[in-house]
């Protein structure tokens, strides 16, 4: 996956090392190897590899990780814009997949 890189410096991922207990859950669940375990704490080694799926934050037992998760899909984002700005658009059929 290293050949696939997306935009830089956009992710909302944050790790608070003070609260981290080094359980390793984030390292386990991240599909992009953003974290490693180092001296009994998690460490971010590839911030720009993060796709904001939220698996790490959801599974962190001490809430040391925060990220604004969402769906990285242009059609989905357009749907949310339409629903927010067009009154009565809540029943619109989606562009397709979900």
């Amino acid at each position: 996956m290293k050949q696939f890189r997306y935009l830089k410096n956009v992710t909302t991922l944050k790790l608070n090392p003070e609260v981290c207990i080094g359980c390793g859950m984030c390292t386990n669940v991240c599909p992009h190897g953003v974290f490693i375990q180092n001296s009994r704490k998690a460490k971010i080694v590839d911030l720009n590899g993060c796709m904001e799926c939220g698996a790490c934050a959801l599974n962190c037992p001490t809430a040391a990780i925060s990220v604004t998760p969402g769906v990285g899909c242009a059609s989905y984002i357009i749907q949310t814009w339409v629903k927010a700005y067009v009154p009565g658009a809540n029943n619109s059929k989606s562009g397709g997949c979900c």
Partner: protein, 380 residues
């Protein structure tokens, strides 16, 4: 549930008789019940402490291939789902592992194909027919749903251990420690890909880094193209109507003959943009310049435009060439940008940033193309 009816007696004469040219179908399976359809991949029912559990085949036949082709081309995707609940493969007993699956048929079919040879339970949760990754993102492959199914299937009576193996992509929607607290079952995160499950179990639930990383090979990208195209028929029709109306505008107000001939050229530019954005861009994704998908779409759009202009060289004015190019590139950029939804590495923050920058240009390009096209129609 109604009791099973006794078997037919005297089979031979019924099967030999010819009915409209061929013998009649075999008698109904003893496992069928009024009001329920028996799925073709169920071989029999195992008796467990929590009731009968369907045991399913692990090999793919014509049915599975046909269903896969259908959903990959966008046909019947909303109905491609199975009933949530407990299923099994092989001869699962109290110590057999429990693998949790979405109820999207392709997810379930892929899983059972990959565990051929194992004895295992499959706990199917209700993700509304959506695959694991997308469902987890919408919290449908979620903590509450896993808890609900573990309780509803009385899984604690079926297995002696207290472990659930979930696909790693489910971690976006499932908090492992909450499942443990509410059900007593520990969540073990399985590999990203189903075909690593057998090795994962053999390695005593240990996954190496490769099993925990998502890939996006050329083949994995290409299989996504047909469904991207399947969303286009309706927008294409609207585009054609608009193209037809704009193409006929001339000094004689409107000419049907001209409209027809010129709209065909516009539709060629449109389909060029579609091919460039929805087929070429995904296929050559890592090779195309730029991080943003809308930029990659510009490059494939330019390539498609070059081909189109070569084909239409003698028959178009300079103004028309620019207009067609604008249409092709704008559409290609937009459709390439849309492919972000099918990739496992674009972040929503990044996609939103890209969209805010790119969409005004895409819309502007299309509008400029329309204006130039109409102007050329009036001027010629």
């Amino acid at each position: 549930m109604q009791e099973m009816l006794p078997m037919h007696t005297d089979q031979s004469t019924a099967d030999d008789e010819v009915c409209c040219g061929s013998p009649p179908a075999p008698p109904s399976s003893r496992n069928e019940r009024p009001g329920y359809v028996l799925l073709p991949f169920v071989t029999h029912f195992a008796n467990t402490a929590a009731g009968p559990v369907p045991i399913v085949k692990t090999n793919w036949g014509r049915n599975e291939w046909a269903d896969t082709i259908k959903v990959r081309t966008g046909i019947g995707r909303d109905e491609a789902k199975i009933a949530p609940g407990l299923y099994g493969v092989g001869k699962p007993e109290a110590e057999a592992p429990v693998l949790v699956s979405a109820n999207y048929k392709l997810s379930f079919d892929t899983l059972r194909k990959c565990i051929d040879g194992l004895d295992a339970w499959i706990l199917v949760i209700d993700t509304r027919g959506i695959n694991v990754w997308c469902a987890a993102g919408k919290q449908l492959f979620g903590t509450a749903e896993v808890i609900r199914l573990v309780k509803a299937t009385r899984l604690d009576k079926v297995v002696a251990h207290r472990r659930l193996i979930l696909p790693q992509f489910g971690a976006t929607g499932v908090a492992a420690r909450t499942v443990k607290k509410e059900t007593g079952f520990e969540v073990i995160w399985g590999p990203v890909r189903a075909d690593d499950i057998k090795m994962f179990i053999e390695n005593k639930f240990h996954a190496d880094n490769d099993m925990r990383r998502v890939t996006f090979s050329t083949l994995e990208r290409i299989v996504l193209i047909p469904v991207e195209l399947s969303f286009l028929p309706k927008p294409t029709l609207w585009f054609f109507i608009a193209a037809f109306l704009l193409s006929g505008i001339s000094t004689e107000i409107f000419s049907f003959g001209t409209a027809w001939a010129r709209s065909l050229m516009v539709m060629s530019a449109y389909f060029g943009g579609v091919f460039a954005g929805a087929a070429l861009s995904p296929t050559f994704l890592p090779l195309l310049p730029g991080r943003a998908f809308s930029i990659k779409g510009i490059f494939t759009g330019i390539a498609a435009t070059a081909l189109l202009l070569f084909l239409f060289d003698g028959t178009t004015l300079f103004l028309e060439k620019i207009a067609l190019g604008a249409v092709t590139v704008a559409i290609s950029s937009y459709l390439a940008m849309n492919f972000t939804g099918s990739t496992p590495f674009t972040s929503p923050s990044g996609v939103e940033k890209e969209m805010r920058l790119a969409m005004p240009f895409q819309a502007g390009g299309l509008l400029a193309g329309a204006v130039l096209w109409v102007w050329a129609g009036i001027v010629s």
